[in-house]
Structures are given as structure tokens and as C-alpha cells.
Symmetry: D2
Subunit: 460 residues, 4 copies
């Protein structure tokens, strides 16, 4: 579609936006029903859908820039807010000010969400905005603002009170199961035998759905029911119990959250995952009143990259990374220059083929990984996003597991390790608050001891 060049589309777009984005009614008549603007809103939707990436970028940029709040009015009303006035006048002034801060495009959004399929359109539109923001060289404060406004609206609409919890089984609809297979990002579903096992005995699969986006799982949580906190993922996703076995309730004491995936890019930043975990815990407690342990079994994405960087940085200071004995064992296990070779083997995942090397690396990598999770921060929060997610939810950084995921993906991202974030239900609230307020990370002895060793020797 050659006409999608922003040049030729420019006038069309201006014209379209003029026609479809209504003006903010005066404050006085804000309570009166706006006319049902179905036609123009639908026109906007259709126009947008027909555009290619460039056209969409142009339209979104224009919308954000030209249809925001009336800055003149805001500025003027700001002048009228003076704290000293009587309460009534003050509140009135604030109300007017609040109203004036509404961008015009917020009205358009409000109308679109009323259309059939409108909410899904807005979720996808936000995915476009996010991509645009990521790719744009030139900064666009207006676009960032529009993203913030839209995120806030989506957060309101996708409040947990409006979500439906659904358990997915082999009796669920085929299209849902196919989507869940597709969305599973943590431990990819290979085929239908695989997915059948993940919804079979000793497994649970829950999703949140929303009435305004029928047949779309928003976030998916996979749980394994076990008799202790799982140490590796293979036992769960590859060699699970056969779909025909029935569950022995007495063997179920522990719930392992082994995969949580959000499927809508446009809902980034809208909290769904933690609410889903919380709801699922309640469901499981209802089904298994004697369940004692709740824990994740989580990947550590980014660790291998971080590790290679550290090795780079510490070039020539390998004694800050390995003990003498460790270094010796590594040297014995490989050929060629130690650090260089090691980096190659780590980045190609080949190290895992040598039992000797595996043994030699266990202690130093566990130590480094414990520090990576416990000590590395970004804006004060845990650098690792998975750790940050579970710590925000109030979980405890519980255990590091060696050789827990030796799939190519597991090796590339996490050097084969996985972490358990354990949920002590009576403490999660307190932990969460502590973490959010003071950035305190609640961790087990194992983690604390490993991290301390690392910090001491590595001076990290």
C-alpha cells in the first residue's frame, strides 16, 4: 500500500483527527451525556488498522502532539489555585484544573473502548506505542505521556475485580489451549502431547481473561503439584506423570509455579501476574487444604550475559572470581588459555558436556549467581526482572539450583541454573512492603552465605 507514506497521508491524517477526536466539553457541561460517537471512533479504528508501521507512527505522533491537554488553560487555572482560599473554592479550582489536564485523545480512547473489539484495539495500539518508544531515536515526550495515560486507563480496566480466573484443562476449548501453547515463553511447548501433560494430573494451568477481550488469555500461570520444592525443570515439563494417572492427594504438599507468561504486549506494566499468583494460591488452598509449600521454579535470564561481562572486567584478576583450587580444577578440565577458553565454552554452552568442568564451575557460578540476584541492583530494585517480580510479590529468594535447566535456552540465559522464590503466605505482605520501601531483599541462608562469599572475594 504505497499511499501509506506519511507525506501523502499527512493531510488525510489531519483531516481525520479533526473529524474523529472530539473537543473536551466545557467544565460546566462535563456531566452531560456526550452524543454516542460510534461513527467517528470506528472511522479512526478502521483508518488506523489500514496503516502500515510508518503511517501508524506518524498518526500516533500527531495525535499525541496535537490533541493533548490545553496547556494555556492549564496554565491559567494554575494561577487560580491558591491554598489560602476557602475549601469550597479551592476544591472547585482543583476540580477544574484536574479536568483541564485531560488530554483530548483521552476522550477518543474512551469512545473506542465502547466499540466492539475496542479494548483489544487499544491494547494493540499501546503495543505499537511501546515499540515506537523503544525504537525512536528522537525522543517524544508527548508520546511518552500518551503511553502513560493509556497505561493508567488499561490498569483501571484490567483491575483484578474485572478479571475472570479460568482453570485450563484438556477439556478446555482448543483455541484457548493453542494460544496458551503459543504464549508459553518460559519453557516452550513443543507439541500437543506436551500441552496435554501441562494440563494433566499433578499440573494446573490458570489464566486471567477479561470480558471485553473474549477468548484471549491475558496471563498464564503453570503450576506443578509435588511433594517438595522442585530442583529442576526437566522433571516437570518433560517427564511428568502420564495423562491417564489420577492424582494421589496425599502426595501433594507443594505447589511449584514454574511458568508465568503475559501474552499481551500492550498490557506491559499492568499488574496481572502477581494477582494471578495470589488468586491461584487461594484456589489451591481450597482444593488442597493441607498444602504446605508454595514456591516458584524460575529462570535467571541475563545471568550468562552478566557473567561474561564480569569475566571480561576481571580479566587478569581471576583470583577475585575463583579460589586457587577452583582455578586449578578448571584449568585441569579445559585446554588452552583458561579464561578465554572458559568464556568461549560458557557462551557456546559447551561447558556442560564436560563433567569435570561442570563440577569445577558449580561453586564459583553458584556464588556469582547468588550475588547477581541478591546484590545487583537497578534504580535500587533487583536488576534481574524475574527476581524483582517475585520480590515485589513478597516472596523469599530461597534457593539456587545447579543444573536445573540444561536446555539450550536454560544454558544460554541462566548458565543452567534456576532459582526458587518461595512464598510464605503469612509473610508476603510484609516482605513486599519491606522490599518496595527499603529495597530489603528477604533471602535464605544458602543465598546469603553464597552472596557474602562472593562479595568478599570478588569485591563486587
Amino acid at each position: 500500500c504505497s499511499s501509506s507514506s506519511s507525506g501523502s497521508r499527512g493531510p488525510d491524517m489531519d483531516e481525520l483527527l479533526r473529524r474523529t477526536v472530539a473537543a473536551l466539553p466545557p467544565y460546566e457541561s462535563r456531566g452531560i451525556s456526550p452524543a454516542l460517537r460510534e461513527g467517528p471512533s470506528q472511522e479512526f479504528v478502521d483508518f488506523y488498522r489500514a496503516l502500515e508501521t510508518d503511517g501508524r507512527a506518524a498518526l500516533l505522533t500527531k495525535l499525541a502532539a496535537d490533541y493533548g491537554a490545553d496547556h494555556g488553560l492549564v496554565s491559567q487555572l494554575c494561577g487560580q489555585v491558591t491554598e489560602g482560599r476557602d475549601v469550597d473554592a479551592l476544591l472547585q479550582a482543583e476540580a477544574r484544573l484536574r479536568y483541564s489536564l485531560t488530554p483530548r485523545y483521552k476522550l477518543l480512547i474512551g469512545h473506542i473502548c465502547r466499540l466492539e473489539g475496542g479494548v483489544k484495539f487499544l491494547v494493540d495500539l499501546r503495543a505499537d506505542i511501546l515499540q515506537l518508544l523503544q525504537s525512536q531515536s528522537a525522543d517524544s515526550p508527548q508520546l511518552r505521556e500518551m503511553n502513560g495515560i493509556l497505561k493508567m486507563l488499561l490498569s483501571d480496566w484490567f483491575s483484578v475485580g474485572f478479571l475472570n480466573l479460568e482453570r485450563i484443562t484438556w477439556h478446555s476449548s482448543c483455541d484457548l489451549l493453542q494460544k496458551i501453547s503459543m504464549y508459553e515463553a518460559v519453557h516452550p511447548v513443543r507439541n500437543w502431547v506436551d500441552i496435554k501433560r501441562r494440563v494433566g494430573p499433578y499440573r494446573r494451568c490458570y489464566v486471567f481473561t477479561h470480558n471485553a477481550m473474549p477468548r484471549e488469555p491475558l496471563v498464564v500461570l503453570h503450576v506443578a503439584l509435588t511433594d517438595d520444592i522442585a530442583k529442576n525443570i526437566q522433571a516437570i515439563v518433560q517427564y511428568g506423570p502420564s495423562p491417564e494417572r489420577s492424582e494421589d492427594v496425599n502426595k501433594i504438599t507443594t505447589a511449584i509455579f514454574y511458568s508465568i507468561s503475559t501474552s499481551q504486549q500492550g498490557l506491559q506494566g499492568v499488574e496481572l501476574g502477581n494477582y494471578l499468583i495470589k488468586r491461584v494460591v487461594k484456589e489451591l488452598q481450597g482444593e488442597f487444604p493441607h498444602m504446605k509449600k508454595f514456591s516458584s521454579l524460575s529462570p535467571i535470564p541475563g545471568f550468562t550475559t552478566w557473567l561474561l561481562e564480569i569475566l571480561q572486567i576481571k580479566e587478569g584478576k581471576s583470583n577475585q572470581i575463583f579460589t586457587e583450587l577452583e582455578y586449578k580444577e578448571i584449568q585441569d578440565a579445559i585446554e588452552g588459555p583458561v579464561l578465554e577458553t572458559l568464556k568461549r565454552l560458557l557462551s557456546t554452552n559447551e561447558w556442560v558436556r564436560s563433567d569435570k568442568l561442570v563440577r569445577a564451575l558449580e561453586m564459583p557460578l553458584m556464588r556469582l549467581c547468588a550475588w547477581y540476584l541478591y546484590g545487583e541492583k537497578h534504580h535500587g530494585a533487583a536488576l534481574n526482572p524475574v527476581a524483582n517480580f517475585h520480590l515485589q510479590n513478597g516472596a523469599v529468594l530461597w534457593r539456587l539450583n545447579w543444573l536445573a535447566d540444561v536446555s539450550p535456552r536454560g544454558l544460554s540465559s541462566s548458565s543452567g541454573m534456576m532459582a526458587n522464590y518461595r512464598y510464605f503466605l503469612e509473610d508476603t505482605n510484609h516482605n513486599s512492603i519491606q522490599y518496595l520501601r527499603s529495597r530489603h531483599i528477604e533471602a535464605s541462608e544458602q543465598i546469603l552465605s553464597l552472596a557474602a562469599q562472593c562479595q568478599k572475594s570478588s569485591k563486587l
Copy 2:
């Protein structure tokens, strides 16, 4: 429960609010997940529910007064908004200002809506606020503000995109049908034979429901399927077709909306009725592609009261109300002093028993009523709320019907008349905009002619 006196509760309340209403996080960390505050929010809900009316009033007043926006901060940020600055800085300043205008109680509301039954609680809470606002001698700007904030949130949550349209039939759940019977305010349902007829052949009953308030019809629309625009209500609610007859599609050309009731006081001002009518029109067009006419058959609440006032005002100037001939006929039909007796007969509904009087009053009352609907205004909008509702929706003030509802309720409120507001589907959008902008009322020849006569003679 004697402890509910506001006196003794005061300290408790302060304590409770301190505990349960979180502070607004700093702007910088607004994006970070708040801890799951289920406990405190639930505590607030339980505390509130246990209170009597007085205690509730006290708590709400305190909440509105002490947990609003931080006025100092608002004022300070206002100073920083200066139009001249570069876009980025300006938008940032506006965003901070917008955020600072968030009342603290909005966070509490946001947490409550996540609880099970939380949305219903908030709807009922707003009903309490509305009642409080109506009853309060002393004005409370803070309470009014809280009402506004809550209404806005409810409007977002009860957006039409999140509502479920449900058709109610005799196969629907008993509890739903009982609630619908109970909520029917326009033409009360007398018994189960009555409700069975209203969901039977040649009738439709639709409701909006919301996932967060299961088993609660929010707004109910009753429709009669006829072969022409109905002139009176008796034929519809009393002598309808028997529930066993099947519908003859060829006899159905017209849909009469004969009752629309909202059932949740707390959703006052949240537009549901017009969206329901719109959706139902679509449903009906799907079911009956050849349907030609859509119209309401509506009461005219307030007319009798208005009429009696006019008669009072025009005392001694009865020639402004009745023509000479009319006056003569009325005089012939009653005994005693004409106007005084007439007022008594009108206020007791007894006039309808005299055929002579009924004939004598037809012309003058129709004239007055046409004027009442067309000419009487309140803040520029139609004074009569039912008229205002349909005109906002874009309907045409189509026809006045004499002796259309001779039930006691129909006589007391509307002097036995009913109005048809007709929906010409291709014009409703235009009409609605015209009415909202310029207060122009689209009306039929009958209405215009009657209203003109009235205005001329009565000098209204």
C-alpha cells in the same frame, strides 16, 4: 449496636482511616507495584458495613475531608507550570500536577474494587453518599468532590464495553426474574403471572450486567413488539398475549420501549440506559430485519404537580388556561366552584370517573402537557426528566396520548397521559448533538401545534 454513635466512634475512625488509607506514593515510584493491600481494604469494608447511618455519614465525611489531595503540593506544583517552557518540561510538570491532584481516598477505592464484592460495595457506598448529600443541611464540598471522583471511576468501570447484554426469558434464573420484578418502577409487577407475560411472546426484556457484580441486573429495558406505535399501556402490561402463543413475525413491525429502570442507586449519573436502548435496537434489528418503527411509551412524571401549580398561579385568569367553550363544558361536568373543584378532582384522580369531564379536559390538558414537555426547561434542558433522557438519546418528541395510563400511579403523576418518544435511527445522532448543544427539541407536528396553542393562550 449502641457503639455506633459518632461520638464514641470518632477516635476509632481516625485510627481506622490512618491504618487503611495508604499515602500516595511519591511521583517517582508511582509505577511500582503497591503491596497487595487486601487486609486493610477489607478491614475498611467490614468496619463500614457494621456502621449505622450516622456512623457512615461521619466516616464518609472524615474520609472526604482528611484524605483528599495534598493541597500544599498542588499549589506548589501549580507554580511550576509555566507555558513558556520546553515541551518535555511542561508535560512533566503537568504530569506531576495531575498526579498530585489524586485524592488519597482514590487509592483506597482502587484497592476495594479488587476485593471480592468490592465493586458492589463501592456502588452502595456511593448510594450512601448521594443520600447524605441530599439530606445534608450543611454543605460539604469535600463530600461533593468525593462523589464526583467516585462517579467518574464508576463511569469508567461500567463502560459499555464491559457490560454484558442479557435477554431475560421465563427460562432465566428465578433470582434474576424476582429482582427484575422488584426493580420495575415504571409499571409495577403485581405477581408472577404478570412477570411471565412481560418475558413472554411479543415481549422482550433485556438487562445489562457486569462481571464484577454477578447476578445483579444494572438496568432493565422492557419492550413490546407490536404492529404500530402503542397508544396506551394497559394493552401491554395487562392484556398481553397469552404466554403460550407463538409470535407471528409478520405482525411485528414496531418496538415499544415501555419501561426502563435502573436498579442501582449508586450508579446515578452513570449512563447505562441510553447504551442499553442502543444495543437492544441492534438486537431487535438482527432478529426482525424488517422492523420499521422504534418508540418509547413513557410516563410524564411531575406533570400533575406542575398542572396543579399552574392552576394555582392562574387563579382568576382561567381564560388563559381554558377557552370559553372548554370552561363551559367543565362547568357543566362538575358541581361547585369550578377551579377549586377541578383542582380537587385532579389531585384525587376522581375526574377520570366522569366521562363528561374527561371529554371536557382532553383538549386543554393535552395542550398544557405538550407545553410542559416542550417548553418547560431547567438549566436549558427539558424540565421533565424522562423527556430529557430520550431527547439526549436523540429521540423525537412524537405524540401525546390521552387516557393512556389510567392506573392510580398514571393519574397521580401524569394525569393519565403518556408520551411517545420516537427513535428515527438515522437521525438520533444528529438530534442528540443538536439537543445537547443548542437545546433544540425535535418534535412532531402534533406536539408543536399543541404547544404553540398553549403558549399563545396561556402566555407561558
Copy 3:
């Protein structure tokens, strides 16, 4: 419709039957698919439905008489069955004979059951046959045979494996609840508050339905959940817990079956009630694992009539009915000739108004009733149909309750008494077999003692 006189219809009927009742295919081609005879079968159904009672009687009689088995063929094949032959030949001969004993109308029935609504038609047709058989002065062996054939088919189709158990609550469909109210024959439902209570807390209501008769409850069982075996019905149907209360599981130890009604006359003799009780017991055990007692609270229909007959028979031998002391007390409580007055008071239910008389009658009536239930037989089985039903199911005749149902209906039929038939789950099978085989009635001490006293004194 005057043309329904059997005279004028005669030829039509013959013609219709010829057209619609197919001939039995030869034995050899019995396996081959019959053509889809939807047309003729539907014609029969429509014809039958349009007839009045007389016409139906005529048609049924004709069908039974003229379209039975081919007696000539049966007789001929009978000659070919000789036990001495080799197994193959014998079985073949028997198979042919069995086939030849199929009445032609059985084919018609088989086709009708395939029509939409066909099964319901056949159930109603059997109701007609049963009424005809009851009313007919002239005996009709063919009609009796057709009834037997149809009953057998219905028994097959309404086998418990093909029935759906449904729990009815206040959320169930309105039409179902209305039908259940209507069908309740034991303790009539007076209004919707009444039915709401019967499906509310501490109550259960279960029905069997069948796919081929959608929206039709076949048999209805009402259960009260209590903490002991109920002694009277008022507490259950009149003063039950309010519909808003929630159940306290700890207070529920006992299930009282207080009403079981079949709603389809045409399923008379098809066992549904005992299967329903059995299934419900399982449901309740699932819901309340600690439930200890299961018992009916049942009326004793026919007792008052039987009592009045006994009083008639024992005229002049009142010492066989009452002890001297009892007689004296009765005499004190009433005026006029004792037995005559007593009979009048019993047949008008007035006796219950005199506390004195109530006290005086308690012992003798309990004694007589115990005997009536335990000792009175019909073809070897218990004379009282309710007793026979529960005893066949394997229940124990457990307790007689005085003043247990003082409603007019309870007084008229059961002189105000009710019986508990108790189900000891581990014994029901054994009891049922004992009762069916040897007519042994398992009864409690109370019953045995009362019945023995009665038998001794009354020489019954």
C-alpha cells in the same frame, strides 16, 4: 369439534392406521434399516393430538386390537419350538418366536420416539391409556397388553443411566421452579416465598430429567438438613430458616426426605423415586461426609378412611379399640353418643381443636396406625402405598409421630400423624430383598410394640 365422535371418525381412523402403522418386516430382513418413517409417524401424532377424549379412546382401542402381534404366526411358530432339537435350531426357533410376538404398534411407538417431542407424546399417551383402563366398564385385554408393552419401553428409556440428576436452587430457571411448585403434591407450595425457602439454606431439592424431555422434571425429591430425625412437618415447610442465612455444616447430621413427587402420570410404575433417593443419598454423602442419619418424614394417606371403617366395623365392640380408661377420657372430652360423635369429629378434623380429646386419642390412634402400617396387607405387600414404597427401597418403619401434620390435608388423610421410614444405608439392600421375597417388614421397637398391643386388643 363435533367431528370427533367416534362414529364419524371410524373410517378415518382405519384409514389413518393403515397408512401410519407399518407392517412388521419379515424376520429375515429385520436387521435392515427401515426407511425413515418420519412423515407417517408425525401424521399419527398430529391426528391423535387433535382428537377429544372419546376419539382418543376409540383410536387407542382400535390400535391395540387390530395392530397387535400376528397370532396365527405365533401359534405356528410355537409348534416349531421343541426342546429336543439341537441348540442352534432351538435358539433360532425361539428368536423367530420372540420376534413374532412383537405387536405391530411397537414399531409405530419406536418411530414416534424418534420425532422431536415424541417421547413426551408417548408418556402422555400412556397417561391416556391408564385413565381409559381405570374408567372402562368393559374390560379390554388388548389395551392392557398395549399398556404393558409401553410401560416396558418407557422403563427401558427412563433407565437411571439415562437420567440427569439436577439440584434445583433459587438460581435455577423460573419455569423449572414453577413446575416443581405445581407438581408438589405432598405438602403443596402456597407461593413463591414458600418455594424460595424449599430451595434455600438447610434444604435441598433434586430432580431427575431426561434429555428426550427437556425442561420437564420427572420426579422431585425435597430434603431438609437437620440435626435429628424430624418429628413434624410444620417446622420444615412453614418455619424454615430464612433464605439469607448460611448453613452451619456442624449442625447438619441428618437428611429428611419430606416430599417425593412424580410429575408424569404416564410414567406410573416406572421406577424413578427409589433411584432418585439413592442418588441423592450419594450426593449428600459427598457434600456432608459426616452425615449420620437418613430418614423420610412421610404422610400416611388412607389411614383416616381406614380408621373410620374400623370404627364402623367395631360398632358395639369399642372395647376392642379403646381401653376402658381411654374410652372414659374420650367420653369426658366430647358430648353426645361417643362413637358416633367421635366418627364425626374425626371426619371433620374438628377433634384436633380439643386438647382433651387430642390427649385422649393419642394412644389408641398411634396403636391403630402402627398396625395399619405394619399389619395391613394387599397381595402380601403393605397396604399403605407410601409404606410399600419405602419398604421396597429397604427402609425401616421407624417411628410414628403424633400431631406431625395438622394441616387440613394432614388431618383428613393421616389423622395428623406422620411416619419416619429410616434408611440404614448398609442394610437397605438386604431389607429390600427380604421385603420383596418374604414380605418381612423391618420395624423399630416403637412400631412393633404398638402394633402388638393393637393386634392383641383389637383382634385385627
Copy 4:
């Protein structure tokens, strides 16, 4: 389980059967409720399920032989049936006789069908019987009789009035879709993309299910919606429209039944397929009121085998099979001795790779196949089972299609041809009766002409 040898099991079996198969109650008490024999029936089921093939064979044989009808009683009652007696006595004698012909095992069956999962057990039991009958060298008339009795009962239970029609879509339950994929015998489903297409746009998939066998499709019908009668299967199962396209109703004038599979071996001989076609036709007419043509696109299983036999038989008389010209063309297309090579190429499916040979064979194979379908009979009915099925349903043998299924399976069984059996709805009843009565096959000009040529030249 070594104890399953029939030797050691013998006594156990006798014992078990004595315990679990009740005696037929005397005729007089046939109406009285049998005790609930759940325990013994369940014992039989569990015992049977634990047996291996040999044990099952032994048990079934014993059951059929020792628990049939009481031949002595039958013989005796036969003597009492004399046609000359009065109606009442005659009917009574017949009723007793009919009752005496009930095998004892029929009671066991009746009890098993009341168990949970009982019906499915009986269906599977019959599958075992059928396999046993097929495999047995020694003939077993009793087993054959038991099969007949069981088939009759299953036919009653699986009457169309008790079946649920379900449309299967991509939204249907995964387990159902997997079973349907698995059961598809005509054109095997290769993967999930395949099955998604078969339930996608321009396709319909319907099943019958039965309440007593939940989640089990009994018979599956696949339909393609096209604009003309389809000529080959590839277009339907391989290159169908993409699952995302929406249907253009205007392009749909024809329904092609391209696969019908029964999935329960134990329901062999129970008519389900023809009823399913009939119901689906009604559904389609409801959805597409203007649909004009209904036809199958069917394989011709057995034709290749038959063809090779004919070629064998006609060895040396190839002029009866091919015209001189045809023979010449074949000779040109192959190498080596003509008939021998041809037979090899036909039996290995290699012939289809040579365009020349394909052209040369078209006429003679079409001719032979037309004869095979039209002229070859078995017990008077069409030899080809698919032809027989559709002709019984009243379809017309409409068209032979060359190269209509060139899959290995299509070549092996049908030499690549497929047949259309067309359903002219107004004629199916008549055609069916004609076919069943007089074995008349309704066929199109194409078929008649081809068959006539074949008969003439080939002297078949």
C-alpha cells in the same frame, strides 16, 4: 496376571455368574421392583475388566450358554398358546411366553446399564463379542443370540430421540477434537493444522453424543460447503480455505458429506449415520435456507481388490475388459506383458505416475467401477458397503470421479476414484423404500450408461 488362564478361572467364573446373574422373577411378580442390585453388577463389571482376552471369551461363552432363556418353560408355554382361545386368554398366554423368552443375562445387562459408566461398558462388551464371533472357528449360536439381544437393547438406547447433535468447532473441547481426529477413518487427520481446517470456514463437523457416554462422539460427519458438487477430495482436506477467512454465504449452495465415521465398534449395526445425515441436512437448511444440493463424496473401498480379481478371472479374455483401442493404448504406456504388468502397477499404485497410462485407463476403469457399484450385489443389496449405506438412506448413485483421491489409501482401495451419492431431499424416502423393498438402485445417466457398456462388453 497369570491367573487369567481360563482353566484356573473356570470355577471362579461359575461362582461369579451364580452370584451376579439374578434369576428371572416369576411372571406374576415381574412388575415388582427388583432390589437395587448395584453391588453384584459392579462385581461382574470389575471381574470382567480384569480379564485378558481369553478369560473374557470364556466368561462370555459361559454367560451366553448357561444364562439364556429357560427352554423348558418356553416349550411348555408354547403348548398353551392356541389360537382358538378367547382373546384375553390368548394375550395372557402370549405375554407369559414373551416373558419366558427373556434370557437371564438380559437382567444383568439391565442392571449394568444403570451403573456409572455402565453403558460404555456394554458397548465395549459388545465389541468384544463381535470380535469373538469373527475369530471363532467353532460356531456359537448362543453367543450369536446374545449379540442379537445386546444389539437390540443398544438400538433402543441409542435411538435418535436420545442423542445430542453437537457441532464441533475450533472452540470445542480439546479432548473432543483429539478423539475426532483419531476416529477419522476416511481421510486421516495428519496434524492439528489439518483438524483446525476441518472445523474452520466452509467446513462443518457434527457429532452425535449420548448422555450415558459423556465426552464420547458416537458418529462423526464432516461436511464441506461449496458452490458445486465436489469432484475430488484434495481440494477439501488439503487445500481448504485458511482458518481466518470468513464465509461468503453467497458462495455456498452445496453441502458435501465427505467423511462419516463411527467410533464405537460395539455399536455396529446400530443405525446412527443415516440419522446424523438427516439431522445435519436440517441444520444446514436452517443455516443456509437457499442451499440447493446435498451430496456425498465417498470412497469406493474394495474396488481395487475386486478389479484385480476380475483381471485374474478374465485372463486371456482381455477383450471383455478393454476395447481394442484401449488395450493398444495401455500396451503403449507400459513395458512387459500387458495384463501381468498392469496388475502389478495397479496393486502397487504405480500406474498413477504415468500420465499416458492414467489416460488409457480412465474409460475402462470408470466403466468397471460403475458396474461394480451398480451391478454387484450381496444378498440382493449393493456389494459395496458405502454404496449400500447411502442407497439405504435414499441417495442417488450420482457420479463417478476420476483421479478424485490419489492418496496411497485412495489408490489402494478405490483406484483413485470417488463416488458422489446425491440426496434429493424430496425423493430420499421414496428411494429408500424402493431400494429396501425391491433392491432398485436409483442412478444417474452417467452411471447407468457406464454400467450398461460394461455389462455388455464384459459379460458381468
